[in-house]
Symmetry: C2
Subunit: 418 residues, 2 copies
Amino acid sequence: MTFEVPASFISFKSRFGAAIALNIQGGVNPTHWTTEQAPEPHDVYWPFFSVTFINRWISKLVAFVACNALTILFLIPVALVQGLTHLDQLEIMFPSLRSILRMAVVSQVITGYLPIQILQVFLTFVPPIMIMLSSLQGYISWSQIQKSACSKVLRFTIWNLFFANVLSGSALYRLTIFLEPKEFPRVLAEAVPAQASFFIAYVVAFGWTTIASELFQLIPLFYNYINRCFCGVSDNDFEAPSLPYHSEIPRILFFGLLGVTYFILAPLILPFLLVYFCLGYIIYRNQLLNVYVPKYQTGGEFWPTVHTSTIFSLVLMQIIVIGIFGLKKLPLGSALTLPLPILTLLFNEYCQKRFFPIFKAYPAECLIKKDREDQNNPSMSEFYDKLANAYNDPALMPIKYSGLFGSRRLPLLDSSEV
Amino acid sequence: MTFEVPASFISFKSRFGAAIALNIQGGVNPTHWTTEQAPEPHDVYWPFFSVTFINRWISKLVAFVACNALTILFLIPVALVQGLTHLDQLEIMFPSLRSILRMAVVSQVITGYLPIQILQVFLTFVPPIMIMLSSLQGYISWSQIQKSACSKVLRFTIWNLFFANVLSGSALYRLTIFLEPKEFPRVLAEAVPAQASFFIAYVVAFGWTTIASELFQLIPLFYNYINRCFCGVSDNDFEAPSLPYHSEIPRILFFGLLGVTYFILAPLILPFLLVYFCLGYIIYRNQLLNVYVPKYQTGGEFWPTVHTSTIFSLVLMQIIVIGIFGLKKLPLGSALTLPLPILTLLFNEYCQKRFFPIFKAYPAECLIKKDREDQNNPSMSEFYDKLANAYNDPALMPIKYSGLFGSRRLPLLDSSEV
């Protein structure tokens, strides 16, 4: 009553042994035996546990295409929103509304608040969709899915909130400039300052409110309340939420991008951002310490995303500055600013070489040190006993199969072997 | 009388042990302990043997800048050559030469043969310069230097022979199209067919002659003759030449590029190329078997360069075809060709995943198999004895230092340890 699964968890006597299996290509065909670090037991995402390399590659491709299609389709609500900020166009389209639109309150609500709210409603759907796409991509752990969704949401936010707003807002559909890199600094230098007021309003209307609503946790509260009243779930079943990194990190990074790109063009945005970041520090510190229960150890793996996003913001700001010096007919200024993005990219390159390997694999020095500590640790045999039953595919749980597959959960090799 | 060298050769009991040290990051700082596979003893390039990571990184950067500067400066001879192929411009510049220039023989020589010869004279300086730049880049073996110079020469050739000729020839200084990717297919579709006759002449005048002169080995013959007559070097001192991969591979790949890009625009180039490749096969086969003595085992490491160049040629051809369908007002044709470059790039991506790891490190399967074979091999102890004195820095040779440093050539660890 056994059947084969083309994937398995393997435990090693030492961390160093595991690192060897992880870092050295096993078979002659690099796509046959692929090794990955095992996630924490409760972090495993089982549906893609035993897919082949090629299946994974294809699903990655499909997710990539779907993600790009979503990004392009999202231009429709953005164009809608930007139509609202240009009231004069709306007046031409609906002449009968002119008298209403000319009222100060109405025009302020429509141009200042409504666009951001509409955009926000559409944006709330993005993180769950990206999580769905990432989960189709063949990752075997929730942490990897969330990390991948985080960078997807970040790219989506920067493209659809920053570039689409900037470029469609100031002169509708200038998106073709991405096909003409030479024009890039000039067009950005024209378009970015024109959207300063929109982004200041965005920081206040969206940044401040989300950070405040973060404190109240309205949705979990409401959900819990309904559960208790109608479903008869007791207080003990309440599961503490975990921080949704994939939606929070891109949002904070996006405000960082706004700060870096606008501080030279519209310094008025800075006090608003300062308030946002101060509030954010206080509130998230409280949430992380007292509210959220982490589902897995991130191990600082989100840092490369933050680093890349910061470098991108800096380079973007420097390109905009070059464009502005060009517009102001200061070619010397442009020429002197030109080394800045090059130096930033060189710094990035250096960081990639110096710090990025730490995020990919642990160095042998640390592994061997830890292994030696473990050798003298009397509780290790207990740990190995636990390890044998730590990873259980929910599809093979004894509850469902009435104990028939109980023996499958024992390791293939006895733990005394390597 | 000892001093420290911040680099060393380490021998391992097993191939697998060496692979572990190679593939797993040793220290916490990834730039402190860097490991590389040791080259063959006579392949070591000593000057950069003990440079630090940062020094290497900086020299790589300097070489990159110098290489790009050379590529840009080389546009001057190319423009000169292309001026010659447009005789009418020359007539305007030197009206007194008009009668001579109008002679059929003169104009044929000037437009057909002279440009290629001038270009060729300049091109012969490129491989030695690239070898010099690569040797400054911090590689520790000649094979790595030659591999790096090979891809440098290849990029240089494609840029300065193909793109510069195509774009400057048909309408001087259209090089700015690289800043406008949208225009790329259209401009190429206009410019590439116009240069077909130049490249056919190039294949005959340059391709055929180099392949023939390859057979005669005139320069080594002459050099050897002078040495024997005037320097009194005997026949026994004659060192067999090794194949200069860094100049031969880019040349053959460039002819491949010409074939792939022109077969649809000017099929007349194909018979000339066919003759070139047939001659090349016969002659290089003879040269490799009977004339050249390889200085090191390439281990097929030039293959990724060949693969990348072929993929590049294919994508370039497909872009040109899209442009031509656009020019001929066949938007359906353009649209249907569009998936082709995408599929080619996907194929490339797949090959990168499937085959490229083989060029980076040997799989554990092969290493362990070889190790087990060695365990039963009685000649291994002899091999270890030889190994101890295989690597000798010429700067520390006993001839120069009168035996004082003889002890330095013994390994730091006894070979019985790991």
